[in-house]
Amino acid sequence: MCHKIRHPRYWLILPFKMAGLEIISDQGYRIDGRRSSELRKVCARMGVFTQADGSAYIEQGNTKALATVYGPHEVRKGRGKIQHDRAVVNCQFSMATFSTGERKSRPKGDRRSQEMSMHLRQTFEAVIVTELFPRSQIDIYVQILQADGGNYCACVNAATLAVIDAGIPMKDYVCACTAGFIQDSPLLDISYVEESAGAPFLTVAMMPKSEQIVLLEMNSRLHADNMEKVLDLATQGCKDVFAVLDRHVRDHVSESHALMTAS
């Protein structure tokens, strides 16, 4: 009867083991060839649309997200939301129908998207200096073009760049990163395959300079002893993301300044 007291995760890892797919190889490499504390390659571009007030595109490995920001403008939908001392932040998360392996029937409006929109709103209400624009509204629209794990993180990072591009005052950047705990070791920036292995993982959104956590989400149970290790790794991941984003923002600022002075 020994199979009854097997570790619950055993059943989830089993199919991968049988298929010869190990999350971490004996040499310490992951399926996509990263080490456990390495991020996927981050590519970003700011100001991809002209008609939006701010926009950005980000690629984190195979996860691709597009963010656009409009505002601050007059409160249009739902005038009841109007705040007399600050701006309202309105977020909409959507996933392109072609973003996942199996075609999605609804790009937005399902439960997961609504939850994601709510998390994004909470994140950005915490960092945008909304008191400067009373009785107005700031819209943030994010779309996932390709989903390969860490969708929320890609959205937050893209939206940060878009908000900066729009010139909306923020207290700090927000950077997001995931970290999981698979085969007894913490892993940074979980991909889709690693996510679906069923192991616990943390999603952290933080302000990298002040090291304040804006959002923390955990999807299943993790032993308290391991929590600290995983959280530390995710924090480090956020700072690594920040370093990349910061470089892009600085380049963008000096580039657009050069364009302005040249014209």
Partner: protein, 213 residues
């Protein structure tokens, strides 16, 4: 002059003991931080010891505030009020217009009860006005219940707009087109003349003063 420094949101710039926080910055625990991505400028203030720190970028945002001077375009005029679209706040142009409303009693400071809206504004006029307050739906209902006419009832549908006032000499119509389509020149505080046809039209004219630089 040294090349201006590029700032990003959340970057610590100076201590509040050395400088004062200007636009594009915020103060947290005694330090000035940038809240925009742009260039940092240090400006000397007249009569003050500390220089002011600001972060500048090309695009600027603003919302109408109480007592700020706004530029608005008249969209519709009724017997009780005049609706307009606020396009500028002080010196910054808005990306999208905000709704504004000038009530009959806010058009001028004297002889308020003799005001005739049609003789003060016409649709398409450019008006300088001061923001009095923000009109909420609830407030608007109580304000207007005394004198509800058809136009007021219509406007209740799209409540939430800024209440504007032109009850100052410097405020009122600054640009207006005549019936012939020419830009009119002000001849008195209540008249404007068309240079093409010579006909006079009445407006609440603003006395525009040139700013001495």
């Amino acid at each position: 002059m040294a090349a201006p420094r590029v700032c990003v949101p959340g970057e610590r710039l100076f201590s509040t003991a050395d400088c004062e926080a200007g636009p594009g910055t915020y103060v947290h625990h005694g330090y000035i931080y940038s809240c925009l991505a742009g260039y940092m400028h240090k400006r000397k203030q007249d009569g003050k010891e500390l220089p002011i720190i600001e972060v500048i970028r090309q695009k600027e945002d603003a919302v109408p505030r109480k007592d700020s001077i706004v530029t608005a375009k008249v969209t519709s005029v009724s017997g009780r009020m005049c609706k307009c679209a606020i396009t500028c706040v002080e010196r910054t142009t808005l990306r999208e217009p905000f709704r504004g409303l000038i009530r009959k009693e806010d058009v001028r400071a004297t002889e308020k009860d003799r005001v005739e809206m049609y003789k003060c504004f016409r649709p398409g006029d450019i008006v300088l006005a001061r923001v009095v307050s923000f009109l909420d739906k609830k407030v608007q209902v109580s304000l207007l219940t005394g004198f509800l006419d058809a136009a007021c009832q219509l406007s209740l549908g799209d409540a939430n707009c800024y209440l504007l006032s032109t009850a100052e000499n410097e405020l009122g119509v600054v640009l207006a087109l005549s019936e012939a389509g020419a830009q009119m020149v002000p001849v008195s505080w209540c008249d404007m003349q068309c240079p093409k046809t010579g006909s006079k039209e009445s407006r609440k004219v603003a006395k525009v003063q040139l700013q001495q630089e």
